[in-house]
């Protein structure tokens, strides 16, 4: 059973889900792939990656935002990742069966985790061709020639809150709206912030999620330079193997995940299908190094402990953990140490999987996508696979989901997201059957 509730509080229901991922362009296809172990990782096709040290990735395939969004003008203001966001958000809103209307628009909030890419690669190439052919921009010449090339559409698409703006405009949301970026924790932090908006009474409904695409020459280059990616170009389907002893880096993915959150009683009154309670959020800073996590798990430990307290759940209530599990040597070891520290002996009874093993790392989108996966695990009573774990690592001694199908009733699920820069987020979801008002 869920945590013992001692006093009335505002509860938050998840009533809609939408996913655009390397595994599929909607929730159903993505979920089926996670249950059958179909990988989304393959050689990179959207640009010529043949000269890069890493030539594999987890691309969204065949997605056309026009199938989800009729407003062609809006799409002119969209980069690739904005299209993912609009598509996934539209699915989540339809799935929830409720959308902002004039009377409710001000009570709808929107919180997104958005990525760090600015202009698209083609625009950078164009700027280079026009103003910096010799490799360096000459500002004095740029001032004269640049005016003609200053395309307001490029400017709009490159603004850090443009994705937020497109969502607000498309859905007519007029309440609290914000965008956050804490690297790989962005999506989780967005969802955590959204929960708080409903608890505070700032909003009755929140559209929340994360979206990203760094699968372009600059984004791929950035991670190659850091040596963070798996170089297993010849075996893409095996390259992401979180918690395996031979793991050697993560796989860059792209996509979006969105959730519709509602105040619990209002959701019940309208007869909404509730996937899960979004019961708690924990949020900490590692304050250790920019990219490394502390070997002891310091930082993630506080995030998980806070999230449990916030959800009023006991460690022994937790049945499933969707791990951050990037498949880098350091992250996976440190995360396991943190889980051990928080859950003690009960850690052996928590089923753990990193869905990055199949869909790669969606960076700013990851936390929101993985929170949605936890909701699906609770709803269906099935656990997604931790693929490619063949050689156990003694330093990663948790109970990983290695076989399919894996039916299990999930009372409480938790999702971890840890970002470059040291931000750690943990969200906790509870089975709606265990919520007793």
């Amino acid at each position: 059973m869920g945590g013992i509730v001692t006093r009335a509080r505002v509860r938050v229901a998840i009533t809609g889900l939408g996913l655009v991922t390397p595994l599929g362009n909607d929730t159903r296809t993505t979920w089926e792939a996670l249950l059958t172990g179909r990988t989304g990782i393959a050689p990179i096709m959207t640009f010529d990656a043949s000269g890069f040290p890493v030539r594999i990735g987890a691309e969204v395939k065949g997605f056309d935002p026009r199938t989800a969004i009729e407003d062609r003008k809006l799409l002119k203001f969209s980069n690739r990742y904005h299209g993912f966001a609009l598509g996934a958000a539209e699915e989540a809103i339809r799935d929830a069966g409720i959308r902002p209307e004039n009377a409710s628009a001000a009570r709808w909030g929107c919180v997104v985790g958005s990525g760090m890419m600015g202009i698209e690669f083609g625009e950078l190439v164009e700027a280079h061709r026009r103003f910096a052919v010799d490799g360096h921009i000459a500002p004095e010449r740029f001032g004269i020639d640049g005016i003609a090339g200053a395309d307001p559409l490029v400017f709009c698409r490159s603004q850090a809150n443009n994705g937020l703006s497109l969502l607000l405009q498309h859905f007519g949301i007029r309440g609290y709206a914000t965008a956050v970026h804490t690297a790989c924790a962005s999506g989780g932090q967005a969802v955590g912030t959204a929960v708080k908006l409903i608890r505070r009474g700032t909003a009755d409904f929140v559209l929340t999620g994360g979206f990203d695409s760094m699968l372009n020459p600059v984004g791929l280059a950035a991670f190659c330079l850091l040596g963070a990616l798996s170089p297993d170009n010849d075996e893409p389907e095996r390259a992401s193997r979180p918690f395996d002893r031979t793991r050697n880096g993560f796989i860059l993915g792209e996509g979006a995940g969105f959730l519709v959150l509602e105040e619990w009683n209002a959701a019940c009154r309208r007869g909404a299908r509730i996937y899960a309670e979004l019961a708690g959020d924990g949020n900490s800073l590692s304050s250790y190094r920019i990219t490394d996590s502390h070997p002891s798990g310091d930082g993630p430990i506080q995030a998980m402990a806070q999230a449990l307290a916030d959800a009023r759940a006991r460690p022994e209530d937790v049945d499933y953990l969707n791990a951050h599990g990037t498949s880098t040597p350091m992250n996976d070891r440190s995360e396991c140490a943190a889980v051990r520290a928080v859950f003690g002996a009960h850690a052996d009874r928590i089923a753990v999987s990193s869905t990055k093993s199949l869909m790669g790392h969606l960076i700013a989108g990851a936390g929101a996508v993985e929170a949605a996966i936890c909701a699906l695990a609770i709803h269906h009573g099935l656990l997604p696979l931790n693929a490619n774990l063949h050689e156990p690592d003694p330093e990663c001694d948790l109970d990983f989901v290695r076989d399919l199908p894996h039916p299990r009733r999930v009372g409480v699920a938790i999702s971890n997201s840890f970002g470059f820069g040291g931000s750690n987020n943990c969200v906790i979801l509870r089975n709606p059957e265990d919520v007793h008002i």
Partner: protein
């Protein structure tokens, strides 16, 4: 149950000065720090005015020289303002006198909330030499990558660098966020920090906003969109022609009243309430009726549990663009009628700091209340009849009470309002 949130430290830097007092005094004296851009040869540029920090010396801002390779100009400004606020609040000497277990708890209960501008165009220019070498061939681009681009490129351009390095430097490990919501970012950092304290998630938090938008490509876009002023920012003036960009950062240390009292902190003021709403009509759209701002002010007053009559002064967004100022005046008239409290705006004195503007205005509002003196808008010549009900002046006015309302607006139709009170010294 809501906890009182006190302000116990402040820091700021912009073209007008390197601490809140210096900046406030420059504005009070009617001095604008906006001048021709010096970072590059802007002599033949169609728009070349901005609030640049002259002779910016990175080593004077952030001592740790190793850090300079890992962060951008905007990050240095943010780290500087945050370090000044933390120093002003006396957090570190207090923590370091605690026993180790108490010090760990202090760190775990200290949050960090940052509002930043996101990525800059020139970050990606680091790839220009590689593009030249590749001559249009991505195969060459990939193969020559490692020998041409700084391997730390990604880390240097992370939008959450200020958050990361405040954490590493001070070992604070509490709740945190890096807000990238354009001009509202800094104010939302304060609002989210205050919300975390009220909810008991932390005992204290550092809130910082930083931005450095003065770069060639940004100036060109703002110019192309007709957003830049011809000569100077003239908020609410009939002849206003746009805004001008500035760079800088501001930071506040917020603490619950109980935590501030327990360590005998010097309390500078109190955060009373805030709100943020969207108009949601497009990235650059502004409703002429000021709808979003009206709703934000109403909700902030509700949050603070006070009424319009309690507000003693307003720091308006006043960015100098015709539609923003007119709709802002309309919103203020809607809430305060024909007798609004003394109103000012500060952007004319140092430019529009985008992500840092609202939090710098908050710091300056606190200074104004402390001095009992609302600085005038020195560049105002002839008040636009559409803004006629505003209580703006070219000279200083006394506030009507000890409560200030600060307004911030940004792309995506974001409107934020924040209320604070200064402590009697």
């Amino acid at each position: 149950m809501s906890k009182k949130v006190m302000i116990t430290g402040e820091g700021a830097i912009c073209a007008a000065g390197k601490d809140p007092d210096e900046i406030w005094k420059a504005a009070r004296a009617g001095r604008s720090a906006i001048d021709a851009i010096q970072q590059w040869d802007s002599s033949n540029w169609p728009s070349r005015l901005a609030g640049e920090i002259a002779d910016l010396n990175p080593r004077a801002l952030v001592e740790d020289r190793k850090l300079h390779k890992l962060v951008r100009r905007t990050d240095l400004l943010g780290l500087y303002a945050a370090s000044k606020a933390i120093e002003d609040a006396g957090l570190i000497p207090h923590r370091d006198a605690l026993d180790p277990a108490q010090a760990d708890l202090f760190n775990d209960r200290t949050g960090v909330y940052v509002g930043g501008g996101g990525g800059a165009y020139q970050d990606q220019y680091d790839y220009f030499p590689l593009l030249t070498a590749a001559r249009g061939d991505l195969g060459i681009f990939g193969r020559q990558l490692a020998t041409t681009v700084n391997p730390m490129w990604l880390l240097r351009t992370l939008p959450n660098n200020v958050l990361c390095h405040i954490g590493i430097r001070y070992a604070f490990k509490g709740p945190n966020a890096c807000i990238t919501n354009h001009t509202a970012s800094g104010m939302l950092a304060v609002a989210e920090a205050a919300a975390a304290l009220r909810a008991g998630e932390a005992d204290r938090a550092v809130a910082v906003g930083h931005d450095s938008p003065i770069e060639p490509e940004t100036i060109l876009y703002f110019h192309a969109l007709g957003l830049l002023a011809a000569d100077t920012i003239r908020p609410f003036d009939s002849a206003r022609s746009g805004t001008l960009l500035g760079e800088g950062a501001a930071a506040l240390v917020l603490e619950t009243a109980a935590a501030a009292r327990a360590r005998g902190a010097k309390v500078r003021g109190e955060f009373l309430g805030s709100a943020c709403v969207a108009e949601g009509e497009g990235l650059l759209s502004i409703r002429t009726d000021g709808d979003g701002l009206v709703r934000a002010i109403v909700l902030a007053l509700e949050d603070a549990e006070i009424g319009p009559a309690d507000v003693g002064m307003i720091v308006a967004h006043g960015n100098g663009t015709p539609p923003s100022d007119a709709s802002e005046a309309s919103a203020i008239r809607h809430i305060f009628g024909t007798k609004p409290p003394p109103t000012t705006a500060f952007k004319w004195a140092f430019g529009h700091l985008l992500a840092a503007s609202g939090i710098l205005d908050t710091v300056l509002a606190l200074d104004s209340l402390r001095h009992g003196d609302v600085p005038g808008i020195a560049t105002l010549r002839e008040l636009d009849p559409a803004c006629a009900t505003l209580a703006v002046s070219t000279t200083a006015q006394p506030p009507r009470s000890g409560v200030a309302l600060v307004l911030g607006r940004g792309f995506a139709g974001t409107n934020a309002a924040l209320l604070l009170r200064a402590s009697a010294d």
